[in-house]
């Protein structure tokens, strides 16, 4: 292994050398792609395919309710159609489209060569495609989910949805969410650690702030839904009664868990689009973004406030007025940070010299549509009005105004703005303008009228309605509008195809943008930047035209090859000072195999062949562990030259490698899931009917105390193993102690869970069982971490300098010890709460 750079004699030679290391093989080798440009495009194309499917479903909906008493499809099929429309648009289009957009663009905006974990990107992509395919396959087979995209219990419980339909949603969507969580962790780590040298946090392009905050929202927003989905699937598959009010459960728990995700989800969709808007408006206004810092503050405020709104979806369920007032106030309040951004964009245009082009046309459409949606949102935030409009088409109109206005219009602007970057071609936009007007006018005709049908009392989700209701002409016009909009979308697609196929090649930066993604040839090379720039100003004040040739000549950082490695730089989180050389993995089929194995696990659960599910789970774990065979090094490397006379260690010798941070953020998401589980248990105790249970359940001291000791031994072993390794001694004994502690704790937790009396009898027993099972799962994984550490030690991957594996393991062992003890104490307290009559509410 050489530490010396292999310098190229010319930009062409450098390009060839870098391409040989970074390019993805052709033929079947394309399935091994892990490059962010390729996967970003694949994500976006797949998301657009799902968007088309969701659009077709929307047309079927509009045909069915175009007139009264329609017999186009029956209520059963209609239930599947509207459920799948919502599910596809939210989970299979919006989130993945944003992910693809972020994956393609983020490294280029930040001055990096790829995302932090390319194989994870690929694994996320396969999980998304396979999970989405399960849903679409189920729809084609006539067994699609049919209880609404929010899957309310008890309708979605096995009593009222006995078939496979609801399981398809629960398992398919959870499968897809692997991709969302992976993207969230990866975006956070990439933004915080993988920027061009000199790009301090205050110099980041505003898009990076938006994506960073959005990813944090995903990190804390998705776990409640994942937990809810797991609990509901456990109820459906094994009759554990979390949501069954006849056995101490409560269907409102599902609504809380779902909307705790569901409302932030709307902002998770909007904020990346707002980031794109914040990139495009300055370009077309020929003026830098006004109010950069105010926007950062507004987005942070918006992110938090969006978590305090979820009950506005539940204003009519009987929650006390004072609680409703909190959520109503927060719902109205969120308009303020939104307005800060809108006014910043208007101010940017006012300060600059705006020019109208197709992306700006879509952005003007966005302003109109989104602001109208926001205004109806404020109306719906007011409880008295909400009670009148709840579950009517007024709400359908509002949500489409904010989602189509806040995401689809900006994304169509972004498609026109960045497509030249993907293709290296520009269009004369002859089809773009009519496409816009068809979409814009069709949209308003479709959805504005729904405000009126809603105010006239038309409920959502009804398959038909009587002629006497008087909604026919409005619905017919809505349906006509939807077809006009569809024609517009078809023209939009045709326009993109024409541009890709026949557009004119351009030299560079067709819009005169001042951000880093244009400082490269288009379409971009697999390595993005031949060398990495030094950033000395805010990243939306750069001169890509001057910067690009210099970077192509290799005059920046890492403008060379070394050992055939795929290198990029890791920087200090705040200042952007280079601190490590991150060596990225080569193309590999492992993410595909991992995705297939995970798909096998999901299908095993879906068809209730649990033996197969367990086998596939084991296969998945083995494949995921095999990813590590090509990571790290068997000898110390020391600092590596990075250019400019500077040096930095490889990431496996750095203090805080990206993977260390990834584990920190993964555990943060995990802690959110665990906290949701604990709160869910307390919620049931406090408000669910049918309490107290006949018998209280909890772990006995005889097993809980040794289990706590084992957890502490494991935690201490993990900590000491890392510290003695850094000090230069062998960690083998401590790792063995850690493995023994985790294994012992696993056995004891499994025994305690097995001793829970009749988990199917009462929600209290079921929650105790699940909390103990959660802890057992973590200790089992902890065992794997400890044994893996021993294997890495034996294989020669560890030394005082190369302690990353054990430091990552330490994080897991610490977390497991903490949540394990909380699980033991928590379930013991739950037993007391459930068993003592004096403290029953």
């Amino acid at each position: 292994m050489s530490q010396e750079p292999e310098r190229a004699s010319s930009p062409i030679e450098l390009h060839k050398a870098l391409s040989s290391a970074w390019d993805t093989p052709g033929g079947w080798g394309r399935l091994s792609a892990i490059n962010h440009s390729i996967l970003g495009k694949r994500f976006m194309i797949a998301a657009f395919v799902f968007f088309a499917i969701g659009g077709l479903l929307a047309m079927l909906i509009r045909v069915q309710i175009a007139t009264s008493n329609t017999a186009f499809v029956g209520p059963e099929v209609y239930g599947q159609i509207f459920t799948m429309h919502g599910t596809v648009m939210m989970f299979l289009f919006a989130i993945p489209m944003f992910e693809g957009f972020a994956i393609y663009l983020l490294p280029k905006l930040l001055g990096a060569r790829d995302m932090a974990f390319p194989r994870l990107t690929a694994y996320g992509f396969w999980c998304y495609v396979f999970g989405g395919s399960i849903l679409i396959g189920a729809m084609l087979a006539g067994v699609a989910p049919n209880g609404g995209w929010f899957m309310y219990t008890p309708l979605s419980s096995s009593t009222y949805s006995p078939g496979i339909n609801a399981d398809v949603w629960l398992l398919g969507i959870t499968f897809v969410e692997i991709s969302a969580m992976a993207a969230a962790v990866e975006i956070i780590v990439s933004v915080l650690k993988m920027r061009a040298p000199g790009m301090s946090l205050n110099r980041m392009p505003i898009m990076a702030w938006y994506l960073l905050i959005t990813a944090f929202m995903m990190l804390f927003g998705f776990p409640p839904l994942i937990l809810g989905s797991i609990l509901l699937e456990l109820e459906r598959a094994f009759d554990l009664p979390f949501f069954d009010p006849t056995r101490g459960g409560d269907s409102l728990l599902w609504q809380h868990l779902f909307w705790l995700f569901g409302h932030p989800e709307v902002y998770i969709i909007f904020l990346p689009a707002a980031g794109a808007i914040s990139m495009m408006i300055p370009t077309f206004s020929r003026h830098e973004l006004v109010g950069y810092r105010s926007i950062v503050v507004a987005v942070i405020a918006m992110a938090f406030l969006s978590f305090g709104l979820w009950v506005h979806h539940m204003f009519t369920v009987g929650i006390p007025h004072l609680a409703i007032a909190f959520f109503s106030a927060a719902s109205g309040l969120v308009a303020i940070p939104t307005a800060v951004q809108i006014f910043a964009w208007i101010a940017t245009m006012a300060q600059g010299r705006p020019r109208l082009d197709v992306p700006m046309l879509y952005l003007l459409g966005f302003f109109v549509v989104f602001v109208l949606g926001g205004l109806t949102g404020v109306m719906l935030a007011m409880v008295p009005f909400n009670w009148q409009a709840h579950d009517t088409h007024f709400v359908v109109a509002h949500l489409h105004y904010v989602l189509v206005g806040g995401f689809v219009f900006p994304m169509m602007a972004a498609a026109h703005y960045w497509l030249p970057h993907f293709t290296g071609r520009v269009s004369d936009h002859r089809l773009s303008v009519p496409a816009f007007w068809l979409i814009f006018s069709g949209f308003h005709l479709t959805f504005f009228l729904m405000h009126l049908t809603g105010l006239l009392g038309m409920p959502r989700r009804v398959a038909t309605y009587p002629a006497e209701a008087g909604w026919d002409w409005l619905n017919l016009l809505s349906s006509v509008g939807s077809f006009v909009m569809t024609i517009g979308f078809a023209l939009f697609v045709l326009d993109l195809i024409v541009q890709v196929r026949f557009g004119k090649a351009f030299r560079r930066n067709p819009w005169g943008a001042r951000t880093l993604e244009w400082a490269m040839p288009t379409p971009p090379a697999s390595y993005a930047f031949a060398s990495l720039p030094t950033i000395e100003d805010r990243a939306d004040r750069l001169d890509p035209d001057a910067l690009a040739p210099s970077l192509a000549r290799g005059e920046g950082y890492l403008g060379f090859m070394r050992n055939g490695w795929q290198e990029t730089l890791g920087v200090d989180m705040t200042t952007g000072r280079p601190e490590q050389v991150i060596v990225l993995p080569k193309p590999t089929f492992l993410p595909l195999w991992s995705g297939l194995a995970t798909g096998g696990f999901v299908l095993g659960l879906l068809f209730k062949t649990y033996w197969l599910a367990l086998i596939m789970l084991a296969v998945t774990v083995v494949i995921l562990i095999s990813w590590t065979r090509t990571t790290g090094a068997r000898e110390d490397t020391g600092p590596l030259a990075i250019g400019g006379g500077e040096s930095a260690p490889p990431h496996w010798e750095a203090d805080q490698a990206p993977s260390w941070w990834a584990m920190v953020f993964t555990l943060a998401a995990n802690a959110t899931l665990f906290a949701s589980l604990i709160f869910g248990s307390l919620f049931l105790w406090l408000v669910a009917p049918g309490w107290p249970p006949a018998i209280a359940a909890g772990p006995g001291l005889a097993l809980a105390v040794p289990c706590a000791v084992a957890l502490l031994v494991a935690g201490l072993g993990g900590r000491r193993a890392a510290s003695v390794l850094v000090a230069g001694s062998s960690p083998a004994a401590w790792l063995a102690a850690c493995a023994a502690g985790q294994t012992t704790a696993t056995i004891l937790l499994v025994v305690m869970a097995a001793q829970v009396v009749e988990p199917t009898g009462h929600a209290h027993h079921a929650t105790v069982f699940v909390i103990l099972a959660y802890a057992a799962l973590h200790t089992a994984v902890g065992t794997i971490f400890a044994v893996y550490g021993l294997w890495r030690l034996k294989a020669g991957y560890l030394s005082a300098r190369r302690s990353l594996d054990l430091r990552i393991g330490k994080l897991w062992h610490d977390y497991t010890a903490i949540v394990g003890i909380i699980a033991l104490v928590g379930t013991s307290l739950m037993a007391i709460l459930a068993g003592v009559p004096e403290i029953q509410p």
Binding site: R293, P320, F326, L333, T574, F683, V687
Partner: protein, 119 residues
């Protein structure tokens, strides 16, 4: 103090104000439910003030005080924008979010002083 701790702290401070708001939200919503479950809205302490309202007001004031203290602590020493220095930028932004969070706390939970709490 390690560099990681410093970096992490600077980032957490950006969200500190709204973390206080979030904790207030969870505490008030949870204790509202607990109070209703135990009938604290029917326990009159003095002058028509119920145990329920008093405990909610105390929780609210504690968090409002914490938010105000935080905003004051995060107030930048200089009024210069300092946006080209990451630490100063983060400090100004953290101050901005803290002030916004105090306003959000006062507005979101103002209902505890007047509204019926359990129906």
């Amino acid at each position: 103090m390690s560099e990681v701790t410093v970096q992490g702290r600077q980032l957490v401070l950006l969200a500190a104000g709204f973390i206080v708001w979030s904790v207030a939200f969870v505490a008030l919503y949870a204790m509202l439910s607990v109070g209703c479950a135990y009938g604290w809205d029917r326990i009159d302490l003095a002058g028509g003030l119920t145990l329920q309202r008093v405990q909610l007001i105390v929780i609210f004031l504690v968090h409002l005080g914490a938010g105000l203290w935080l905003a004051r602590a995060l107030r930048p020493a200089s009024t210069s924008r300092g946006d080209d220095h990451p630490a100063q930028f983060l400090r100004h932004a953290a101050y901005g979010t803290a002030v916004a969070a105090v306003a959000a706390t006062a507005f979101t939970f103002a209902g505890i002083f007047a509204l019926t709490s359990c129906y």
